[in-house]
Amino acid sequence: MKIKVNNELQEIAGNNLNIADLLAKNKVEVPDMVSVQLNGEFIKKESFETTFVKENDEVDFLYFMGGGKLS
């Protein structure tokens, strides 16, 4: 399937990729400070393992310097 990650089109094999896998696959720097949006909606950190991406999804990893790591 095809998804868009931080503006870039990515080809994903299979249908079983969650947000945590996607963060690892994209070697996201300082993941504790990252806010994740799936199709413009915020995804909670505790839902990273259970939220799966699907065809044509748009995922954005956003950094707001000075913050992060959910309590």
């Binding site: 949006q37 990893f61 956003l62």
Partner: protein, 413 residues
């Protein structure tokens, strides 16, 4: 393991976000306005917040970020933004949270410039400011309506030195889904845990204890990550996109960026150094303050002494509970008249006549004729500011030398 470390260890040993190429033990001062990129695509992603890079030092800077991260680690906060002053922290926060037609609830017992910000700067832009006695919770609750965005208070009011019950305020704000915002300048980070007491956002002047002895001006907004931003009408839409990052996002990509009240890299460097000796200086100045307050209480020429660490203070018990028995290094005392205050001040040889707190030096000021000089006598009375009061911001000198200085100055009266 890091979170189990003590305050000073965290302040001294917190790691840099990116490894320094030379292994520097202190984060160097990145006195560079802009940062270069390998490609136009990288620059685009960085502007969109999709790469953790610095673009322009008004928005973020490596030295300032290192300072913010140190504060975040030692406070266990969700997010920290460093600004050019404590007043910048208050104004940036309020402008971000509330707008025209909204209201905030506070007390008139505030730092004089904060009161001026509310009354003379923000009110004309349409912000309603409701004043109450923050120790009277019933009255306070009556003031809350659907446009109320926050209760704002100082953990120890300056210069009245009053202490509100923070747990009670926190319960009230949580029951009503509004923010509890505290100016925590006078209650140092090393012994006061605002997050545990339910304070959502802290604003403070890092010019004071953190700067390491009056070396630089700065401020902090500390988001403790306790508030659900969907409960704030102005930020609810952003909360769907940014969740707990909502305030940081709004500040970093809008109000803080647009207002331009950034901390300079050099000040961030000095304040990072200041953090390393913070706890030592706080301990010494608080011990000095209690000793000096007790000495002043024994002097016949001194009419009243006000310090929450004194058993005679009506706030002694609550201060002891909330501030780990170290209620700051600020005290006030009264003589018979303004004339006597000035005579006393002019005779001091070691203590400096100056307006700051938590310098390494002990400083004295007559608040009514300085910080509050712009206010009419009736308003000063409502603000709890008397003509007979002096404020002593106690430093870390040898206690007996400060007491000797006070003693010889009292002799002139």
């Amino acid at each position: 393991m890091t979170n189990k470390l003590g305050f000073s260890t965290k302040a001294i040993h917190s790691k840099f976000i990116k490894k320094d190429p030379h292994g520097a033990l202190h984060m160097p001062v990145y006195d560079s306005v802009a940062f270069e990129y390998e490609s136009a695509e990288d620059l685009e992603l960085s502007f969109q917040g999709k790469k953790p890079n610095h673009i322009y030092s008004r928005i973020t800077n490596p030295t300032v970020e290192n300072f913010e991260q140190k504060i975040k680690k030692i406070t266990d906060a969700f997010g920290v933004i460093a600004l050019s002053s404590g007043m910048a922290a208050i104004s940036n926060l309020i402008i971000t949270i509330a707008g025209s037609g909204d209201n905030i609830i506070t007390t008139k017992h505030l730092f004089g410039n904060t009161y001026s910000l509310f009354e003379r700067t923000l009110k004309p832009w349409g912000l309603e400011v409701k004043y109450s006695d923050l120790t009277e919770l019933e009255n306070l609750e009556k003031l809350i309506d659907n446009k109320t965005k926050m209760i704002f208070f100082e953990t120890i009011t300056n210069p009245q030195l009053e202490v509100a019950d923070i747990n009670a305020l926190s319960k009230l704000t949580k029951d009503n889904n509004i923010l509890l915002v505290a100016d925590t300048t006078i209650t140092p980070l090393c012994f006061f845990n605002a997050k545990e007491l339910g304070i959502d956002i802290e604003v403070l002047s890092s010019t004071k204890y953190i700067s390491g002895g009056g070396t630089s001006v700065g401020g902090l907004i500390i988001d403790n990550g306790l508030f659900d931003w969907q409960n704030n009408e102005k930020l609810a839409k952003d909360a769907k996109k940014y969740g707990p990052f909502t305030l940081l996002s709004k500040l970093r990509t809008e109000s803080y960026r647009n207002l331009g009240a950034c901390l300079s890299p050099h000040s961030a460097y000095l304040q990072s150094l200041g953090l390393e000796t913070f706890a030592l200086r706080v301990d010494k100045s608080c011990i000095n303050t209690l000793t000096i307050a007790q000495f002043l209480e024994s002097q016949k020429k001194v009419k009243t002494v006000n310090y929450p660490g004194l058993k005679s203070s009506p706030y002694y018990k609550i201060a002891k509970k909330q501030f780990n028995n170290l209620p700051g290094a600020l005290l006030t005392f009264d003589l018979s008249s303004k004339k006597e205050c000035f005579q006393f001040m002019n005779r001091l040889k070691i203590i400096k006549r100056a307006t700051n707190l938590n310098d390494n030096k002990t400083l004295i000021i007559h608040p009514a004729s300085t910080i509050f000089c712009e206010y009419a006598p009736e308003l000063k009375a409502q603000m709890g500011v008397r003509e007979t009061t002096m404020r002593l911001a106690v430093g870390i000198e040898d206690t007996e030398d400060i007491i000797s200085d006070i003693k010889q100055a009292l002799e002139v009266l």
